[in-house]
Symmetry: C2
Subunit: 378 residues, 2 copies
């Protein structure tokens, strides 16, 4: 909280930019040193394969282990990726950070793809090559792509009784999230510079679906219940995940998650909370470890008498649930019980099935009951 | 413009609601009349198949013809759908309009799905049945689903030098679209109630991609060029389409569209402008007939020297282009020439390929040149 008061969003962005430019300087100096000493230039890159991914029980996150690979310039199997990592480094430093601009992964690909002079070889054949080089560069600098001014596809909306400050270059906007009508604020892809201002919030409620956001917004749920309402519109984008983490860490607000009662919904939840195997190197920056799963649970189906509007589980749901049961982050007994219930009954339910009661059942009965009763899964 | 001044968004919504309730009253009275006269109750439903779809050259839209089908209650092949249409009518009137609430198609499905007493038959087996009944009901009332308070999945964002007024139930928000930071306003699914207020706009620029919105927003393109900037984030959602139509019709602003240079981009454009075969019954409400295609065109690839960053067209692109060439709405000679060029060269280009020049090329060179030169396709 102290840091929040001292460092505004703009200053924070400038500080981040300076810090990353400094790290890139060190990164380059190391290489130049090796060249000067006639050594084979190399980069240290933390290994991201499953052999180096573990679940950190204490800190509740999926993390990378200590294994580091060395990538050399003079090694036929390393040289191409080494060169691509240098292209990424140069683009991030000169085109983005020094100009104070942001870009997408695709922009970088287009900017750095070219035929190498005197050959028929391209620097980059497909975007997935430069994407991998970007991740290499992120992890070797021990940072994440938003700090390199790289944008991901944004997704999600929010509304609530809070003001925030956001910046486009050096122009400041103060945005009152309680006065954005039926649409709400579109969550941007980079949220580092956002400052949380006055708020009267007691918790954050994040729904997997746009339809639930619209329902709760129309019912003025967030106003009546003093919460910040967010939808991720499916699997959460990086901007939404980072924002949830910041709301939890900086404002110490409880964060409740609302998805369908099925393994895909649980997967969306667990990715927001713990991170994922594929992005284990970014759990630190994207995981919201205090998040609670409010619903829907398989137990809710019985409790709220929703059997007639359930859906038969598919093979893929069952397989996914069996896998989940074995994950360390689903080991808490409450989750094991839920997954067992699902595997036993082989039914799932959408959150919108509550509409079979009546449209406002979710905002007038289901949510108040769940939240007042602190009826959530860890 | 006069109507805009006289009727605020709230009053307009109330007027719409009253009007639709009246139409539903007439719809019901007709059926009751038939029942009283011992006639077979029926509904008149405009035919939506391709046999009844035509292109209205003068009004630049894909429209339904005059063919009307009669659906009877006492007809074994009609009875089920007749019953479903009544369920829709009852839900729209009693649950939505009378309570002044909105819902999704899925909410309606859940609310009206049940096992018919004394049988093993369900009122609705799958959502696509109730969805079809909703369209039947829309066209038989000569309206569109947003007027029935049915929401579609929202998508898209906007920013620009304009204030708008929006409402959640009877609570008013005045939203300054120039002060929404890097995210912009999320475009809601129902936009009928939105009032356009003060603005300093000269045109509307709608980009297919979030990445282009982010680029132009960061470059403050909309501020420097006095435009409203919008992204549809792919194929345009109904809310975005209706809003574009209203901006064009009510504010008389030119609307320019920016997509990739490929048949899929042209398809996104043509759907926003003319409507589509599948939704011919809604072109009136969703088409933005004055929209112009700013780019990217296949000609741009040569003109802006982008050959090195083009992509080889796939079979599906070529097939789609061949089909498009035959559509009435692609008959203007400028389009025929573009499509021929594409079919000849068999290459396509993404709008982001302009980043191969430099990141700000699109906002500093490409767009100003295209717009100042009025270099667009009809």
């Amino acid at each position: 909280m102290a840091e929040k008061k001292d460092v505004g969003g703009m200053a924070k962005r400038e500080k981040n930019r300076g810090e990353i430019l400094k790290r890139i300087g060190v990164f380059a100096d190391n290489l130049i040193g090796e060249i000067d000493r006639n050594e084979n230039p190399h980069i240290d890159i933390p290994v991201r394969g499953s052999s180096n991914v573990a679940f950190d029980v204490k800190n509740k996150k999926i993390v990378l282990g200590d294994k580091v690979a060395k990538r050399y310039l003079f090694n036929v199997s390393h040289a191409r990726r080494f060169m691509q990592t240098m292209l990424v480094a140069s683009y991030v430093k000169k085109d983005l950070l020094e100009n104070n601009l942001t870009a997408t992964l695709r922009d970088l690909y287009y900017a750095k793809k070219r035929t190498i002079h005197g050959t028929k070889e391209d620097t980059i054949d497909e975007q997935k090559e430069s994407d991998l080089a970007i991740v290499d560069f992120e992890v070797s600098l021990d940072t994440f792509r938003e700090m390199l001014h790289l944008r991901a596809e944004p997704k999600g909306r929010m509304a609530g009784d809070m003001k925030i400050k956001d910046f486009v270059r050096d122009r400041e906007s103060i945005i009152d999230l309680s006065k954005l009508g039926s649409g709400g604020l579109a969550i941007p892809s980079i949220v580092e510079q956002i400052e949380f201002m006055d708020h009267g919030l007691e918790y954050v409620l994040v729904a997997e679906k746009n339809a639930i956001f619209d329902r709760l917004n129309e019912d003025e749920y967030w106003r009546k219940n003093k919460c910040l309402l967010m939808t991720t519109a499916g699997q959460a984008a990086r901007g939404a995940r980072r924002l949830l983490q910041r709301l939890s860490d900086e404002l110490k607000l409880p964060v409740y998650c609302l998805t369908d009662a099925d393994p895909y919904g649980w997967y969306i939840y667990s990715t927001m909370k713990y991170g994922s195997m594929a992005l284990a190197h970014e759990s630190d920056r994207l995981g919201c470890k205090e998040m609670k799963f409010l619903g829907m649970s398989i137990s809710d189906i019985e409790h709220y008498d929703l059997k007639s509007v359930t859906i038969k589980a598919k093979e893929v749901d069952i397989k996914r649930a069996q896998e989940m049961k074995a994950y360390d982050w689903f080991k808490p007994k409450e989750w094991q019980k839920e997954i067992d219930k699902f595997l036993d009954k082989k039914i799932k339910a959408e959150i919108q099935s509550l509409s079979s009661k009546n449209l406002q059942y979710i905002s007038q009965k289901y949510l108040p009951e769940k939240i007042n009763g602190q009826d959530f899964l860890p």
